[in-house]
């Protein structure tokens, strides 16, 4: 592969990576690292964990590259691996990060934002942390990352109808948790 590899389609890069071209896979990592970071940053406790989980996702993807058949965009396929990895991590995690403070600086919120708003976001953040693993992933993909129902159905390996039903229930549960968290403050 040439030094840039920018114009090469994902599917071709996969074939090249399977043939032993490390630079092809490096190019794929470069293209999708932000997509993966967007999800892992919502799950991880800190930067170190974001890096660790994201690396793990790309190693798993490399290990399973042969199973990528090109029936969906590579970005969706890697997100499916990301969702599975995050699900495993959340299930293994003994203590859910319900008390993780919402870092207004890291998330780029304006400092002059009214403190009520910050408290509300903090409460919602904790409410999301209290959701079940599957609901949390669903809310993260659908509501926070703005993925389409079709994409989420592929990523979570469930039907589109199931996504809609589960999303409705998860949203309802989240709203109740949020109200409880907001009232406690």
């Amino acid at each position: 592969m040439d030094s840039s590899g920018k114009g090469i389609p994902d599917e071709q890069l996969v074939v090249m990576a399977l043939g032993g071209d490390d630079r092809a896979y490096e190019e794929l990592i470069g293209r999708y690292k932000r997509t993966v970071f967007a999800i892992t940053a919502r799950i991880a406790m800190d930067d170190l964990e974001v890096d660790e989980i994201s690396q793990e996702i790309f190693v798993k993807a490399y290990d399973n590259l042969k199973s990528y058949r090109g029936d969906a965009p590579f970005g969706h396929w890697i997100l499916r691996i990301a969702a599975n990895t995050c699900r495993d991590i959340l299930r293994k995690r003994k203590i859910r990060p319900t008390s993780v403070p919402f870092d207004k600086v890291e998330y780029g919120l304006a400092d002059n934002r009214a403190s009520d708003d910050t408290r509300d976001i903090d409460a919602l953040h904790r409410a999301i942390g209290s959701l079940g693993v599957d609901d949390r992933l669903l809310i993260t993909m659908l509501e926070l990352e703005g993925k389409k129902i079709k994409e989420v159905a592929y990523i979570l390996k469930i039907s589109e109808g199931n996504v809609k039903v589960r999303a409705y229930r998860a949203r309802k549960a989240l709203k109740e948790l949020f109200e409880k968290e907001a009232d406690d403050e």
Binding site: I29, L124, E179
Partner: protein, 98 residues
């Protein structure tokens, strides 16, 4: 609480993205190094399995040969014992007129 407030806060949280630019720097290099380390571990396992193959084949042949030799004798003994037992029953039946 009204839905409007919940929707607004949810939308705000969705729009607030964590700045990962610091993590992005050198991420490909770090991940590729991990993949290479992973790949190096894999051949070690296959190499060991390959090295063990002759010993396993020899063990399989030896076990098969032993079973073949000892298994045939055992079969003959078992058939003889069964026949002898039946002969005894037949003789008793004959002698007793049953």
């Amino acid at each position: 609480m009204n839905n409007e407030k919940f929707d607004r806060v949810l939308s705000e949280l969705g729009g607030a993205r964590k700045d990962t630019s610091r993590l992005e720097r050198g991420f490909e290099t770090r991940t590729m190094a991990r993949i290479r380390a992973y790949r190096e571990r894999q051949p070690a396992f296959f190499f060991m399995a390959w090295r063990m193959a002759p010993a396993l084949i020899m063990l399989f042949i030896a076990t098969s040969a032993w079973l073949h030799v000892s298994g045939t004798d055992m079969d003959i003994d078992a058939i003889a014992a069964t026949n002898a037992h039946h002969d005894g029953i037949k003789l008793v039946s004959y002698m007793s007129g049953e």
